[in-house]
Structures are given as C-alpha cells and as structure tokens.
C-alpha cells in the first residue's frame, strides 16, 4: 500500500532514512522487484510476533501458577508482550539489515483502525450516546487548549510555522494521523513529518504503562481514567494499549474519547489549510477550503466504529444471551488486530530521528505533553466524574 520511489506521507519512519546512515533503511526508497517479497517477509515477522504474543498471553499465567512470579504472570497483559516483542523484533531486524526493506508491512494505523471498528461491536450504542456529550466537550476544549499552547511555545522557541503546525496537531489531536493530515494541510517537508511521528511514538511508548499506573495511584474511576488516557496519549494505538491495561470499561471510554478527537481532526486540518493558504503563504487566487475538503479529511473508520456498535447492539437485542458468544469471537478478532498494531509500534520506533530533530522540537513536545497531561486530567475529572452508561 505504501511504497514507491517517492514514498507516502503516512510512512514517517522512511522520511529520515537518507539521513540516518542506516544501510538497511537507505535501501528501501526505491520499490524494486523484491519489494513485495520483502513486504511479505515483514508481514510474516509481524504476524509471527503477534502469534507469539497471543501464545504468551494465554499460557504464561498457567506456567507461572504456583511460582514466585505468579502475580506478575497473571497481571501482564497482551499490550506488554506485544510491544516488548515488537521492540526485540526491531533490534533483530535492524541487526539483520532487514528493517528498512520490510518496513512497509508495519501498518500500525491500518491495524489499529480495523481493531477499533471491531471494538465498536463490543460497545453498546447507549454507552456511545452517553459518552458522546462529555467526549465532544473534552475534545474541543483539550484540542483548542493544547494546540494553542504548543503553537505558542514552538513559536517562542523559534520553530518553523509548518513544524509548529505538525507538533501542535500531533500532541493535541491524535498523533501520527493528525501529523499526516496537518502535513498535507500546510505542505510540510517529509523530514518534519518523520521526526514529528518519531516524537509521537517515543513519547507514547512510556505513557502506555505510566498512565494506567498513575490512574490507579490517583484512584480514578474507570470512566475518568479512560477519558484521561483517551485525551492525553497522542497516538490511537497507544491509547488502546493503555486502555486495555486499565480495564475493559476504561478501554471503551478511552476509545470513544480518542475516536471523537480523531473525528475532529478534519476540522483542524481544514482550518490549517485555510490559515496557511490565506495567511501564511498568501497564495494568490487560493480558494477557501469547503465542506468537500472537510469530508475528504474526515477519518472514515469512525463511521465503521459507530456502525459496528449499531449492528452489534441490534444483534444482541434480537438474539439475547445467545448473541454474546458471537460478540466474544469478534472480541478475539479485535485483540488480534490490536496485537498486530502494538507489535508494529515496537517495530517502528526509531530513536535516531530525535537526534536529528535537535532539542527544540523535543522540548516543545515534552512541555506540550505535560500540559496535555494536566489539562486532560482536569477535564476528564470534571466531565466524566458522574459518568454512567
């Protein structure tokens, strides 16, 4: 899906390949005769690590039963295995010189979006309807606040307007997807997209583990914890991983909040297009973006997420308890796609692009993340305090 001589904008890992000195990576730019063979090998790696994750998730509790690590064995869940195995796989394929060649198979965004559509089937429509109000309110306040803070701080540190737009979109909306949308809107350079995406992933990785832990330390309810995780962690895959660690209800609320933010991505992208076209670049004769542009930038998987919830709610109403077995199978499929996404996250991490970005984007991103953390906690505590489906 992704790779030709010019590479696609949704492949941030490749944008810096020519600058890293990584011989494996530098071989990926052109699509040669072996492109599909390498991509197939990449898929085997991703699916193999996912299968190993599933195997460990299902068997480690039994193996640890009655031993000193019994509690740990029972507590460690699939996102942890998937990300750790992805990171180990990352080291292995880098050492083998394969990483750049097989990178087209690391489809984190595709896997997570398919997983989220399937997740919609396990969320009753009533939960989405109840959470929609506070989720939309939180998303609007959080996106506005964090975007403006990041834009302002990046300006104070003298960053280029296009990089400011990418960083602000990535931190405030939904990580890599938002950075891609913003890059298209402001016509950012590929290397700017590459290190923004790297920042997203490097910052998301620890937050997957830290936020569920902090939610527990703070004694947050499942709904508030989910809303906090959904509003704070940038990339949708990491939100789902953290939500899964925090519990099923937290996962559902986190997903609804994140999907709401995703839905607002189109609005921000259109606003950025208008701002850069009419104010920053002042292109003569440029037309104001209209509703068509809004629809073009709307993340369509959100429709699938809601449709799956509508279908499953209707199905359960029609079949009663008998239908739950079918939804359990859908949940297993969902876990498979989430595992594929988490493995891909581990495989995608490239710390080297952060060195190339310099300290200022990293400082902006870190400060914006802390600001996001505090604002999201306040909003989630306020808006989801008395939440019940």
């Amino acid at each position: 899906m992704a790779t030709d001589a010019t590479r696609t904008g949704d492949e941030p890992r490749t944008g810096d390949e020519s600058t890293t000195g990584d011989p494996a990576a530098s071989t990926t730019v052109a699509r040669d005769d072996l492109f599909w063979a390498w991509t197939l090998l990449g898929l085997v790696v991703v699916v193999g690590l996912a299968a190993l994750t599933r195997y460990l998730e299902q068997n480690v509790p039994d193996w640890a039963d009655g031993t000193a690590v019994e509690d740990i064995g029972a507590a460690v869940e699939y996102p942890v295995y998937a990300i750790l195995l992805g990171l180990l796989g990352n080291v292995a394929v880098t050492l083998l010189g394969w990483r750049g060649r097989i990178a087209a198979a690391f489809r984190t965004e595709f896997f997570i979006k398919t997983g989220l559509v399937l997740l919609g089937a396990s969320i009753n429509l009533a939960v989405i309807a109840s959470a929609a109000g506070p989720a939309i309110a939180q998303a609007i306040l959080l996106i506005s606040g964090v975007f403006l803070f990041t834009w302002w701080l990046a300006g104070r540190l003298g960053l280029d307007d296009k990089l400011r737009a990418l960083l602000a979109s990535a931190v405030s909306i939904c990580g890599v997807s938002a950075a891609i949308a913003a890059a298209g809107a402001v016509r950012a350079r590929r290397e700017q997209l590459a290190y923004t995406a790297s920042l997203v992933i490097v910052f998301a990785l620890p937050s997957i583990f830290v936020l569920p832990w902090l939610a527990d330390v703070f004694g947050l309810s499942d709904a508030v914890a989910g809303a906090w995780i959904g509003g704070n962690i940038d990339t949708t895959a990491a939100v789902t991983a953290a939500g899964a660690l925090a519990g099923e209800e937290a996962l559902q609320i986190a997903s609804i909040v994140k999907v709401t933010q995703n839905a607002l991505m189109g609005v921000v992208a259109v606003a950025l297009t208008a701002y850069f076209t009419l104010r920053v670049e002042r292109r003569p004769g440029a037309a104001r973006p209209g509703l068509g542009e809004l629809w073009a930038r709307f993340p369509k998987f959100v429709l699938g997420f809601v449709a799956a919830s509508v279908i499953a709610t209707w199905y359960l109403d029609a079949t009663g308890a008998d239908g739950k077995a079918a939804i359990a199978i859908v949940n297993d499929l969902r876990v498979w796609f989430l595992i594929l996404a988490f493995v891909s996250i581990g495989l995608e991490v490239r710390v080297s692009s952060l060195r190339e970005a310099g300290w200022r984007p990293v400082a902006v991103f870190a400060s914006a993340t802390v600001f996001n953390l505090a604002l999201a906690l306040g909003l989630a505590s306020l808006l989801f305090r008395n939440f019940s489906a």
């Binding site: 904008g9 595709f110 429709l303």
Partner: protein, 48 residues
C-alpha cells in the same frame, strides 16, 4: 541531517488520499469480519 540529503519535498496530495483510503479499507475489513462472525461463517474455534 547530512549534506548529501536530497532537497526537501512536500508531501503530495496523493499521499493524503492514500492515508484516508486506509481508513475505508479498515472500515470495510472490520465490518466484513463482524458480518462473517454474526452470520456464523467464522466459528469460535477458527480464532485462536
């Protein structure tokens, strides 16, 4: 950044379209799998 780096190029409009096509693909695949399960074409034993 090294000196032999190619001149920076902006992403093209086609790149954005590709990213959003992935959205439709995920939606279609997710709903198709849901339909197959609900219709009984994917039994419990098939998903490890």
């Amino acid at each position: 950044m090294t000196s032999d780096q190619p001149p920076p190029t902006p992403p093209t409009a086609g790149e954005s379209r590709l990213a959003f096509n992935e959205d439709w693909l995920a939606t279609i695949l997710g709903l198709a799998l849901l339909a197959l399960v609900l219709l009984g074409a994917i039994p419990a034993g098939l998903v490890p």
